[in-house]
Protein backbone atom coordinates (compact mmCIF):
# COMPACT_ATOMS: atom_id res chain seq x y z
CA UNK A 1 0.00 0.00 0.00
CA UNK A 2 1.24 3.46 -0.82
CA UNK A 3 1.35 5.74 2.18
CA UNK A 4 0.72 9.45 2.04
CA UNK A 5 3.36 12.00 2.82
CA UNK A 6 1.87 13.31 6.07
CA UNK A 7 3.06 15.06 9.21
CA UNK A 8 4.39 11.82 10.69
CA UNK A 9 6.61 11.22 7.64
CA UNK A 10 7.78 14.80 7.86
CA UNK A 11 8.63 14.40 11.55
CA UNK A 12 10.51 11.16 10.82
CA UNK A 13 12.68 13.00 8.29
CA UNK A 14 13.13 16.03 10.53
CA UNK A 15 14.22 13.99 13.57
CA UNK A 16 16.67 11.97 11.47
CA UNK A 17 18.57 15.25 11.08
CA UNK A 18 19.99 14.59 14.55
CA UNK A 19 22.22 11.88 13.04
CA UNK A 20 23.39 14.30 10.38
CA UNK A 21 24.29 16.80 13.10
CA UNK A 22 25.92 14.15 15.31
CA UNK A 23 28.01 12.84 12.40
CA UNK A 24 29.10 16.38 11.57
CA UNK A 25 30.06 17.03 15.18
CA UNK A 26 32.02 13.75 15.55
CA UNK A 27 33.80 14.32 12.23
CA UNK A 28 34.64 17.87 13.25
CA UNK A 29 36.10 16.83 16.62
CA UNK A 30 38.01 13.77 15.36
CA UNK A 31 38.94 15.33 12.04
CA UNK A 32 39.88 18.58 13.75
CA UNK A 33 42.31 16.81 16.10
CA UNK A 34 43.85 14.87 13.22
CA UNK A 35 43.81 17.94 10.97
CA UNK A 36 45.68 19.92 13.63
CA UNK A 37 48.45 17.31 13.58
CA UNK A 38 48.48 17.45 9.77
CA UNK A 39 48.81 21.26 9.82
CA UNK A 40 51.64 21.13 12.39
CA UNK A 41 53.32 18.40 10.30
CA UNK A 42 53.03 20.50 7.12
CA UNK A 43 54.75 23.44 8.84
CA UNK A 44 57.35 21.32 10.64
CA UNK A 45 61.11 21.93 10.58
CA UNK A 46 61.60 18.31 9.52
CA UNK A 47 61.28 17.58 5.81
CA UNK A 48 60.08 14.03 6.46
CA UNK A 49 57.12 15.27 8.54
CA UNK A 50 56.25 17.92 5.94
CA UNK A 51 56.40 15.26 3.26
CA UNK A 52 54.23 12.85 5.27
CA UNK A 53 51.55 15.44 6.05
CA UNK A 54 51.60 16.70 2.45
CA UNK A 55 51.24 13.15 1.17
CA UNK A 56 48.26 12.58 3.47
CA UNK A 57 46.53 15.71 2.14
CA UNK A 58 47.19 14.78 -1.51
CA UNK A 59 45.97 11.21 -1.09
CA UNK A 60 42.81 11.98 0.90
CA UNK A 61 41.87 14.93 -1.32
CA UNK A 62 42.29 12.68 -4.37
CA UNK A 63 39.78 10.03 -3.23
CA UNK A 64 35.98 10.48 -3.25
CA UNK A 65 34.29 10.55 0.16
CA UNK A 66 32.22 7.54 -0.90
CA UNK A 67 35.39 5.46 -1.42
CA UNK A 68 36.92 6.72 1.85
CA UNK A 69 33.73 5.53 3.53
CA UNK A 70 34.00 2.02 2.09
CA UNK A 71 37.71 1.85 2.92
CA UNK A 72 37.04 2.73 6.58
CA UNK A 73 34.00 0.48 6.72
CA UNK A 74 35.75 -2.65 5.43
CA UNK A 75 39.19 -1.72 6.76
CA UNK A 76 37.95 -1.42 10.35
CA UNK A 77 36.07 -4.69 10.02
CA UNK A 78 39.20 -6.47 8.76
CA UNK A 79 41.26 -4.98 11.55
CA UNK A 80 38.97 -6.88 13.89
CA UNK A 81 36.75 -4.05 15.05
CA UNK A 82 33.08 -4.95 15.05
CA UNK A 83 31.71 -1.44 15.03
CA UNK A 84 28.26 -0.03 14.28
CA UNK A 85 28.02 1.75 10.88
CA UNK A 86 27.78 5.16 12.56
CA UNK A 87 31.34 4.75 13.90
CA UNK A 88 32.80 3.69 10.56
CA UNK A 89 30.91 6.61 9.03
CA UNK A 90 32.33 9.05 11.58
CA UNK A 91 35.86 7.71 11.01
CA UNK A 92 35.60 8.21 7.25
CA UNK A 93 34.19 11.71 7.63
CA UNK A 94 36.99 12.48 10.10
CA UNK A 95 39.67 11.26 7.66
CA UNK A 96 38.10 13.40 4.95
CA UNK A 97 37.91 16.46 7.25
CA UNK A 98 41.49 16.03 8.50
CA UNK A 99 42.94 16.56 5.01
CA UNK A 100 40.88 19.66 4.21
CA UNK A 101 41.18 21.23 7.70
CA UNK A 102 44.91 20.40 7.73
CA UNK A 103 45.35 22.29 4.46
CA UNK A 104 43.23 25.26 5.62
CA UNK A 105 45.14 25.51 8.89
CA UNK A 106 48.52 25.13 7.18
CA UNK A 107 47.61 28.17 5.10
CA UNK A 108 46.63 30.07 8.24
CA UNK A 109 49.86 29.19 10.06
CA UNK A 110 51.97 30.15 7.03
CA UNK A 111 50.19 33.47 6.63
CA UNK A 112 51.60 34.58 9.98
CA UNK A 113 54.61 36.77 8.98
CA UNK A 114 57.94 34.94 9.35
CA UNK A 115 59.31 37.81 11.43
CA UNK A 116 57.02 36.57 14.19
CA UNK A 117 58.98 33.30 14.23
CA UNK A 118 62.28 35.16 14.30
CA UNK A 119 61.22 37.60 16.99
CA UNK A 120 59.89 34.87 19.25
CA UNK A 121 63.01 32.75 18.65
CA UNK A 122 65.11 35.77 19.62
CA UNK A 123 63.17 35.85 22.89
CA UNK A 124 64.42 32.29 23.49
CA UNK A 125 60.98 30.71 23.25
CA UNK A 126 61.02 27.00 22.50
CA UNK A 127 59.32 25.74 19.31
CA UNK A 128 56.28 24.67 21.35
CA UNK A 129 56.12 28.02 23.11
CA UNK A 130 56.37 29.82 19.77
CA UNK A 131 53.36 27.88 18.49
CA UNK A 132 51.41 28.22 21.71
CA UNK A 133 51.94 31.92 22.50
CA UNK A 134 52.83 33.61 19.23
CA UNK A 135 51.91 31.77 16.04
CA UNK A 136 48.69 29.86 16.75
CA UNK A 137 46.77 32.75 18.34
CA UNK A 138 47.37 34.80 15.18
CA UNK A 139 46.74 31.88 12.84
CA UNK A 140 43.48 31.15 14.66
CA UNK A 141 41.96 34.49 13.66
CA UNK A 142 42.73 33.82 10.01
CA UNK A 143 41.59 30.20 10.17
CA UNK A 144 38.10 30.74 11.60
CA UNK A 145 36.18 31.92 8.49
CA UNK A 146 37.36 29.16 6.10
CA UNK A 147 36.91 26.56 8.85
CA UNK A 148 33.29 27.60 9.34
CA UNK A 149 32.87 27.49 5.55
CA UNK A 150 34.23 23.94 5.50
CA UNK A 151 31.60 22.83 8.06
CA UNK A 152 29.01 23.36 5.31
CA UNK A 153 30.90 20.90 3.08
CA UNK A 154 31.03 18.48 6.00
CA UNK A 155 27.28 18.64 6.69
CA UNK A 156 26.53 18.07 2.99
CA UNK A 157 28.96 15.17 2.65
CA UNK A 158 27.44 13.31 5.61
CA UNK A 159 24.59 12.52 3.15
CA UNK A 160 26.94 10.00 1.52
CA UNK A 161 27.09 7.76 4.61
CA UNK A 162 23.43 6.89 3.98
CA UNK A 163 24.83 4.09 1.80
CA UNK A 164 26.06 2.06 4.82
CA UNK A 165 22.66 2.22 6.50
CA UNK A 166 22.98 5.13 8.90
CA UNK A 167 19.49 6.62 8.91
CA UNK A 168 20.43 10.28 8.62
CA UNK A 169 18.58 12.88 6.54
CA UNK A 170 19.28 11.53 3.06
CA UNK A 171 18.57 7.90 4.04
CA UNK A 172 15.36 8.90 5.85
CA UNK A 173 14.29 10.66 2.65
CA UNK A 174 14.97 7.51 0.64
CA UNK A 175 12.95 5.36 3.05
CA UNK A 176 9.97 7.72 3.03
CA UNK A 177 10.13 8.04 -0.76
CA UNK A 178 10.04 4.26 -1.12
CA UNK A 179 6.87 4.14 1.01
CA UNK A 180 5.03 7.19 -0.33
CA UNK A 181 6.46 7.58 -3.82
CA UNK A 182 6.16 11.33 -3.87
CA UNK A 183 9.81 12.12 -4.67
CA UNK A 184 9.35 15.83 -5.24
CA UNK A 185 7.78 16.45 -1.84
CA UNK A 186 10.12 14.08 0.01
CA UNK A 187 13.46 15.14 -1.46
CA UNK A 188 12.29 18.76 -1.55
CA UNK A 189 11.74 18.50 2.20
CA UNK A 190 15.11 16.84 2.72
CA UNK A 191 16.83 19.55 0.65
CA UNK A 192 15.02 22.26 2.62
CA UNK A 193 16.24 20.83 5.94
CA UNK A 194 19.84 20.65 4.69
CA UNK A 195 19.47 24.22 3.47
CA UNK A 196 18.12 25.34 6.86
CA UNK A 197 21.22 23.84 8.50
CA UNK A 198 23.83 24.98 5.96
CA UNK A 199 22.70 28.44 4.93
CA UNK A 200 23.11 30.11 8.34
CA UNK A 201 26.59 28.57 8.61
CA UNK A 202 27.46 29.90 5.13
CA UNK A 203 26.23 33.38 6.07
CA UNK A 204 28.24 33.27 9.30
CA UNK A 205 31.37 32.24 7.38
CA UNK A 206 30.89 35.16 4.98
CA UNK A 207 30.36 37.64 7.84
CA UNK A 208 33.47 36.43 9.65
CA UNK A 209 35.40 36.71 6.40
CA UNK A 210 34.29 40.32 5.92
CA UNK A 211 35.11 41.21 9.49
CA UNK A 212 38.60 39.69 9.18
CA UNK A 213 39.33 41.79 6.09
CA UNK A 214 37.68 44.94 7.46
CA UNK A 215 40.85 46.06 9.22
CA UNK A 216 42.99 45.72 6.14
CA UNK A 217 43.75 48.20 3.40
CA UNK A 218 42.32 46.08 0.60
Amino acid sequence: MIRQFTASEFIFILTSARWTLLLTLLALLLGGALGFLVAIGRTSRYASLRWLAGGWITVVQGIPVLILLFLSYYGLALAGFDLPPIIAASVSMALYASAYLGEIWRGAIQSVPWQQWEASAALALSRAQQYRHVILPQAFRIAVPPTVGFIVQLVKNTSIVSVVGVIELARAGNLVNNATFSPFKVFGTVAAIYFAICWPISLLARRLERRLHAGRAN
Binding site: P64, Y74, V163, A170, F187
Partner: protein, 231 residues
Protein backbone atom coordinates in the same frame (compact mmCIF):
# COMPACT_ATOMS: atom_id res chain seq x y z
CA UNK B 1 45.25 -15.71 11.61
CA UNK B 2 46.00 -12.46 9.87
CA UNK B 3 44.35 -11.10 6.80
CA UNK B 4 45.90 -11.91 3.44
CA UNK B 5 45.47 -9.40 0.69
CA UNK B 6 44.29 -10.97 -2.55
CA UNK B 7 44.29 -8.55 -5.41
CA UNK B 8 44.15 -11.14 -8.23
CA UNK B 9 40.36 -11.71 -8.14
CA UNK B 10 39.81 -7.95 -8.27
CA UNK B 11 42.31 -7.35 -11.06
CA UNK B 12 40.78 -10.25 -12.99
CA UNK B 13 37.68 -8.06 -13.33
CA UNK B 14 39.62 -5.13 -14.76
CA UNK B 15 37.22 -5.13 -17.73
CA UNK B 16 34.52 -3.84 -15.36
CA UNK B 17 36.94 -1.32 -13.87
CA UNK B 18 37.78 0.00 -17.34
CA UNK B 19 34.09 0.25 -18.27
CA UNK B 20 33.43 2.20 -15.07
CA UNK B 21 36.48 4.36 -15.60
CA UNK B 22 35.35 5.26 -19.11
CA UNK B 23 31.90 6.35 -17.87
CA UNK B 24 33.48 8.30 -14.98
CA UNK B 25 35.68 10.13 -17.49
CA UNK B 26 32.68 10.96 -19.67
CA UNK B 27 30.62 12.18 -16.71
CA UNK B 28 33.51 14.30 -15.43
CA UNK B 29 34.26 15.80 -18.86
CA UNK B 30 30.62 16.67 -19.63
CA UNK B 31 30.01 17.92 -16.09
CA UNK B 32 33.11 20.14 -16.08
CA UNK B 33 32.55 21.56 -19.58
CA UNK B 34 28.83 22.16 -19.03
CA UNK B 35 29.25 23.47 -15.49
CA UNK B 36 32.06 25.84 -16.46
CA UNK B 37 30.06 27.19 -19.39
CA UNK B 38 26.88 27.62 -17.30
CA UNK B 39 28.77 29.28 -14.46
CA UNK B 40 30.65 31.73 -16.71
CA UNK B 41 27.42 32.64 -18.55
CA UNK B 42 25.56 33.24 -15.27
CA UNK B 43 28.42 35.22 -13.74
CA UNK B 44 28.44 37.38 -16.91
CA UNK B 45 24.68 37.93 -17.02
CA UNK B 46 24.50 38.64 -13.30
CA UNK B 47 25.72 42.19 -13.94
CA UNK B 48 23.36 42.72 -16.89
CA UNK B 49 19.61 42.94 -17.17
CA UNK B 50 17.08 43.81 -14.47
CA UNK B 51 17.56 43.36 -10.72
CA UNK B 52 15.42 40.23 -10.80
CA UNK B 53 18.05 38.42 -12.93
CA UNK B 54 20.72 39.02 -10.32
CA UNK B 55 18.37 37.93 -7.54
CA UNK B 56 17.41 34.71 -9.38
CA UNK B 57 21.03 33.83 -10.10
CA UNK B 58 22.01 34.47 -6.47
CA UNK B 59 19.14 32.25 -5.28
CA UNK B 60 20.31 29.44 -7.58
CA UNK B 61 23.89 29.75 -6.28
CA UNK B 62 22.83 29.72 -2.61
CA UNK B 63 20.33 26.86 -3.02
CA UNK B 64 22.82 24.61 -4.79
CA UNK B 65 25.80 25.43 -2.59
CA UNK B 66 23.87 24.76 0.62
CA UNK B 67 22.32 21.38 -0.23
CA UNK B 68 24.13 18.05 -0.84
CA UNK B 69 24.85 16.98 -4.40
CA UNK B 70 23.28 13.60 -3.56
CA UNK B 71 19.91 15.18 -2.70
CA UNK B 72 20.00 17.32 -5.86
CA UNK B 73 20.65 14.18 -7.86
CA UNK B 74 17.77 12.30 -6.21
CA UNK B 75 15.44 15.25 -6.85
CA UNK B 76 16.40 15.30 -10.54
CA UNK B 77 16.32 11.54 -11.09
CA UNK B 78 13.16 10.72 -9.12
CA UNK B 79 11.48 14.11 -9.03
CA UNK B 80 11.62 15.29 -12.66
CA UNK B 81 9.78 12.22 -14.08
CA UNK B 82 6.82 13.04 -11.81
CA UNK B 83 6.72 16.40 -13.60
CA UNK B 84 6.65 14.59 -16.94
CA UNK B 85 10.37 14.97 -17.83
CA UNK B 86 11.81 11.57 -18.69
CA UNK B 87 15.52 11.15 -18.02
CA UNK B 88 17.67 8.04 -17.86
CA UNK B 89 20.21 7.75 -15.05
CA UNK B 90 23.16 8.98 -17.13
CA UNK B 91 21.28 12.03 -18.39
CA UNK B 92 20.14 12.85 -14.85
CA UNK B 93 23.73 12.49 -13.64
CA UNK B 94 25.13 14.88 -16.28
CA UNK B 95 22.33 17.39 -15.66
CA UNK B 96 22.96 17.17 -11.91
CA UNK B 97 26.73 17.66 -12.29
CA UNK B 98 26.27 20.67 -14.60
CA UNK B 99 23.76 22.34 -12.27
CA UNK B 100 25.95 21.61 -9.23
CA UNK B 101 29.27 22.81 -10.67
CA UNK B 102 27.54 25.76 -12.39
CA UNK B 103 26.68 27.28 -9.01
CA UNK B 104 30.27 27.08 -7.74
CA UNK B 105 31.72 28.45 -11.00
CA UNK B 106 29.21 31.34 -10.93
CA UNK B 107 30.37 32.27 -7.44
CA UNK B 108 34.09 31.93 -8.23
CA UNK B 109 33.95 33.86 -11.53
CA UNK B 110 31.73 36.54 -9.95
CA UNK B 111 34.45 37.15 -7.37
CA UNK B 112 36.99 37.38 -10.20
CA UNK B 113 34.85 39.87 -12.16
CA UNK B 114 34.32 42.03 -9.06
CA UNK B 115 38.07 42.18 -8.51
CA UNK B 116 38.53 44.06 -11.82
CA UNK B 117 38.88 47.74 -11.00
CA UNK B 118 36.50 50.29 -12.56
CA UNK B 119 39.39 52.35 -13.87
CA UNK B 120 40.45 49.42 -16.06
CA UNK B 121 37.07 49.43 -17.81
CA UNK B 122 37.13 53.21 -18.23
CA UNK B 123 40.64 52.98 -19.67
CA UNK B 124 39.48 50.33 -22.13
CA UNK B 125 36.49 52.40 -23.25
CA UNK B 126 38.68 55.49 -23.68
CA UNK B 127 40.85 53.47 -26.08
CA UNK B 128 37.72 53.09 -28.26
CA UNK B 129 37.28 49.39 -27.58
CA UNK B 130 33.70 48.22 -28.00
CA UNK B 131 31.71 47.20 -24.91
CA UNK B 132 32.10 43.55 -25.87
CA UNK B 133 35.85 43.91 -26.40
CA UNK B 134 36.17 45.56 -23.00
CA UNK B 135 34.20 42.80 -21.37
CA UNK B 136 36.03 40.02 -23.16
CA UNK B 137 39.62 41.29 -22.77
CA UNK B 138 39.55 43.55 -19.74
CA UNK B 139 36.95 41.98 -17.48
CA UNK B 140 36.42 38.29 -18.25
CA UNK B 141 39.90 37.08 -19.24
CA UNK B 142 41.70 38.68 -16.25
CA UNK B 143 38.87 37.55 -13.95
CA UNK B 144 39.29 33.93 -15.01
CA UNK B 145 43.11 34.16 -14.93
CA UNK B 146 42.90 35.40 -11.36
CA UNK B 147 40.53 32.66 -10.11
CA UNK B 148 42.06 29.84 -12.16
CA UNK B 149 43.45 27.92 -9.13
CA UNK B 150 40.03 28.02 -7.42
CA UNK B 151 38.34 26.82 -10.62
CA UNK B 152 40.87 24.01 -11.01
CA UNK B 153 40.28 22.65 -7.51
CA UNK B 154 36.51 22.90 -7.98
CA UNK B 155 36.79 20.91 -11.23
CA UNK B 156 38.76 18.22 -9.37
CA UNK B 157 36.10 18.08 -6.64
CA UNK B 158 33.41 17.58 -9.29
CA UNK B 159 35.37 14.75 -10.88
CA UNK B 160 35.43 13.05 -7.46
CA UNK B 161 31.72 13.85 -6.96
CA UNK B 162 30.85 11.72 -10.02
CA UNK B 163 31.17 8.77 -7.60
CA UNK B 164 27.88 9.89 -6.01
CA UNK B 165 26.13 9.13 -9.33
CA UNK B 166 26.36 5.44 -8.37
CA UNK B 167 23.45 6.17 -5.96
CA UNK B 168 21.11 6.51 -8.94
CA UNK B 169 22.45 3.32 -10.58
CA UNK B 170 24.85 4.97 -13.03
CA UNK B 171 27.46 2.26 -13.71
CA UNK B 172 30.52 4.46 -13.25
CA UNK B 173 33.68 3.48 -11.39
CA UNK B 174 32.20 3.32 -7.87
CA UNK B 175 29.20 1.32 -9.02
CA UNK B 176 31.50 -1.13 -10.84
CA UNK B 177 33.48 -1.41 -7.62
CA UNK B 178 30.31 -2.57 -5.87
CA UNK B 179 29.72 -5.09 -8.69
CA UNK B 180 33.26 -6.47 -8.38
CA UNK B 181 32.92 -6.61 -4.60
CA UNK B 182 29.77 -8.71 -4.78
CA UNK B 183 31.40 -10.99 -7.40
CA UNK B 184 34.66 -11.56 -5.55
CA UNK B 185 33.90 -10.81 -1.85
CA UNK B 186 37.28 -9.02 -1.72
CA UNK B 187 35.77 -5.77 -0.43
CA UNK B 188 38.82 -4.07 0.99
CA UNK B 189 41.06 -4.91 -1.96
CA UNK B 190 38.42 -3.71 -4.42
CA UNK B 191 38.15 -0.31 -2.77
CA UNK B 192 41.94 0.04 -2.45
CA UNK B 193 42.28 -0.50 -6.21
CA UNK B 194 39.44 1.91 -6.98
CA UNK B 195 40.83 4.51 -4.55
CA UNK B 196 44.17 4.35 -6.38
CA UNK B 197 42.42 4.80 -9.74
CA UNK B 198 40.59 7.91 -8.45
CA UNK B 199 43.82 9.24 -6.94
CA UNK B 200 45.58 8.81 -10.30
CA UNK B 201 42.69 10.55 -12.06
CA UNK B 202 42.73 13.44 -9.58
CA UNK B 203 46.48 13.97 -9.96
CA UNK B 204 46.22 13.72 -13.75
CA UNK B 205 43.36 16.22 -13.88
CA UNK B 206 45.22 18.63 -11.61
CA UNK B 207 48.29 18.39 -13.85
CA UNK B 208 46.21 18.94 -17.01
CA UNK B 209 44.45 21.96 -15.51
CA UNK B 210 47.80 23.46 -14.48
CA UNK B 211 49.05 23.00 -18.07
CA UNK B 212 45.82 24.48 -19.47
CA UNK B 213 46.20 27.46 -17.13
CA UNK B 214 49.76 27.98 -18.33
CA UNK B 215 48.63 27.72 -21.98
CA UNK B 216 45.64 30.08 -21.63
CA UNK B 217 47.47 32.61 -19.50
CA UNK B 218 51.17 32.39 -20.55
CA UNK B 219 53.70 33.31 -17.89
CA UNK B 220 55.19 36.26 -19.79
CA UNK B 221 51.85 38.00 -20.45
CA UNK B 222 49.76 40.29 -18.25
CA UNK B 223 47.26 37.49 -17.72
CA UNK B 224 50.09 35.18 -16.67
CA UNK B 225 51.13 37.65 -13.97
CA UNK B 226 47.57 37.64 -12.61
CA UNK B 227 47.64 33.87 -12.50
CA UNK B 228 50.93 33.93 -10.58
CA UNK B 229 49.72 36.38 -7.94
CA UNK B 230 46.63 34.28 -7.39
CA UNK B 231 48.71 31.49 -5.93
Amino acid sequence: MGFHFQFQPVLARSDLLLEGLWLTLQLAALGILGGALLGILLAMSRGLGPRATRWLIDCYVELIRNTPFLVQLLLIYFGLPSLGVKLNAEQAAVLGLVIYLGAYVTEIVRAGIESVHRSQIEAGLSLALSRWQVFRHIVLAPAIARVWPALASQFTLVMLATSVCSFISVQELSAQAANIESDTFRSFETYIVVALVYLGLALLLRGLLALLGAALFPAGSGLGRLRQTAR
